[in-house]
């Protein structure tokens, strides 16, 4: 009986931690949506959202409220169950990946040994939400969008995988906290700068962000896989997409920008709590994401595939071989000295 009680207590604490992750994430998504629109507007010399609330800050919650009260339209010939499951899967998977993200030394819900593989696995599952949405809509444009998205995500996952391998060879562990701690002396984006660029661009493609937003290219495919969605399911897609973008920003931070570590380990900087640095870095990466959206034109589909398979894949493969050779010959690899 006692064991059962402690088990239930454990379960309740886990649920509590989940809520503790979910609510800041929700606030983060709202702010990210707002920042995205504001930055985009500023680049184009517009004002952006500025009517609802101070500085237009309540625009996103107002939009969300509007979507909640809209009717959920189920297309007549759609596969209704799959149609409704698809957005739920997208959102659930994007939130699930955050369970292993360390925001500060020791502050992480699940400090598992294969953290980076877990994130890689979860993000490779993300393609199913889009594929299911495109197929179940039983309509041409969503289907094209889904096919494009699936091909794109599978292609860029390969180069992301190799970039992760290069970082892992410098760390010697799959644990995300240990990846951050390994950057105590030097953040990885300095020695592995080309891989940082490859990861950043692949992250754009993986999250279907412009200039790689072909799955929802409005000039060709209406809205891609989201065409038939309205109301709440559409919001789930939107939130899932932005949580994925924030996840990719957090991944860039952890793999290359030293996670929660301060830039220099001196007094006034290292007195600031780690999660502040983490959030600052994620914000910086997100700013870069938003700027790319503002001033890079959309790729054509064959250019996208060429970049993925003929440029990034050989480049990241070369980086794996080169990094491992350097680490081996100069005896720099973890556990070799």
């Amino acid at each position: 009986m006692n064991a059962l009680q402690s088990n239930i207590f454990e379960l309740i604490t886990i649920i509590f931690y989940c809520i503790l992750i979910f609510i800041p994430l929700l606030v983060g998504v709202v702010l990210a949506l707002y920042a995205d629109r504001k930055i985009w507007a500023a680049v184009q010399k517009r004002r952006g959202p500025n009517v609802v609330g101070p500085f237009g800050l309540f625009q996103v919650p107002a939009d969300g409220l509007k979507f909640i009260f809209k009717e959920i339209i189920l297309p007549d010939s759609a596969d209704k169950i799959v149609f409704l499951i698809a957005p739920i899967i997208t959102l659930a998977l994007s939130i699930a990946a955050w369970a292993v993200i360390p925001v500060q030394a020791g502050v992480v819900l699940a400090n598992i040994n294969v953290g980076i593989l877990y994130i890689f696995a979860i993000s490779s599952l993300g393609v199913y939400g889009i594929l299911m949405a495109g197929w179940s809509s039983n309509s041409k444009y969503p289907f094209f969008g889904a096919l494009r998205s699936a091909a794109q995500m599978v292609s860029y996952e390969v180069s992301i995988g190799f970039v992760i391998v290069t970082v892992l060879m410098c760390v010697g562990s799959l644990n995300l906290s240990e990846i951050v701690i390994a950057q105590k002396n030097i953040w990885f984006f300095i020695p592995l700068f080309p891989m940082f660029i490859v990861f950043f661009i692949s992250a754009l493609a993986e999250t279907n962000r412009p200039p790689f937003d072909l799955p929802e290219a409005e000039s060709e495919l209406v809205a891609g896989y989201q065409t038939e969605y309205s109301g709440m399911p559409f919001v789930l897609f939107l939130f899932g997409e932005y949580i994925n973008i924030l996840l990719m920003c957090a991944m860039t931070t952890i793999l290359f920008l030293g996670g929660w570590l301060p830039p220099i380990d001196v007094y006034p900087l290292n007195a600031i709590p780690g999660f502040v640095w983490f959030i600052l870095k994620v914000t910086l990466v997100f700013y870069m994401f938003a700027m790319v959206k503002a001033f890079v034109p959309r790729y054509r589909y064959d250019q996208l595939m060429r970049l993925g398979w003929k440029v990034f894949l050989p480049l990241s493969l070369l980086a794996v071989v080169l990094t491992s050779s350097i680490l081996f010959f100069f005896k720099l690899a973890p556990g070799m000295s």
């Binding site: 064991a3 596969d79 593989l117 890689f120 599952l125 199913y128 594929l131 996952e157 799959l174 250019q303």
Partner: protein, 204 residues
């Protein structure tokens, strides 16, 4: 009844049910989706066995790559017309035959192995001997030392399979316009900068 036991029963129940659904649903896309659910639950059982590396690799390789291609192909089939024509009885004999062969094999294996219940701990939790190092390290230290030859051999076989499938599908088509980026970017000899005097113009 611990939580890990409860999750085991949950995962196995969903695993069995979804594998049953794979063969019993009429819609092939639903079959593939149930297959993916089965893969995921198998990965969950791996996690319970402390084989988290295997679980993640199962998801990344089978669910993230292989099943996506499955779904790709099945989604593009026009199965609505073929559904009505299909007759279950047509495929029944061969299916039963394959099922019988599998059952016979399982029975032979069960008869020939004496289940030693004294080391049930190792049977249910085979990786407990390696708990001092992480699962990934344990697999790596065995795979790259004792079994490095087999590992390399399987890699070469996969490479040959990959090259083979590329060769089989490679076809040179005439009249395809390709974008050659290097030619586009390299503007030497293609662009000339000329100072034009006003009122005179230039010869092209």
């Amino acid at each position: 009844m611990s939580i890990s036991l409860l999750t085991f029963y949950l995962f196995s129940a969903i695993l069995l049910l979804s594998s049953l659904m794979v063969i019993s649903t009429k819609n092939p896309v639903h079959s593939v989706l149930f297959l993916i659910l089965a893969f995921l639950n198998a990965a969950g059982i791996f996690v319970i066995l402390h084989a988290e590396f295997l679980a993640m690799i199962l998801i990344i390789v089978y669910v993230g790559a292989v099943a996506v291609l499955f779904l790709f192909v099945v989604m593009m089939l026009d199965f609505k017309t073929s559904l009505e024509k299909d007759n279950i009885l047509q495929y029944m004999p061969i299916g039963l035959l394959i099922g019988l062969v599998f059952i016979a094999e399982l029975v032979i294996v069960l008869i020939n192995t004496r289940l030693d219940l004294s080391n049930i701990q190792i049977l249910t939790n085979p990786l407990s001997n390696f708990l001092d190092q992480s699962n990934t390290e344990a697999i790596g230290s065995i795979l790259y030392t004792n079994y490095v030859l087999y590992f390399q051999l399987s890699g070469v076989i996969l490479l040959v399979a990959m090259v083979g499938s590329i060769v089989l599908t490679l076809r040179d088509r005439e009249g395809v316009k390709r974008q050659i980026v290097s030619e586009q970017v390299d503007r030497k000899g293609k662009i000339e900068l000329v100072d034009v005097k006003s009122g005179e113009g230039v010869d092209i």
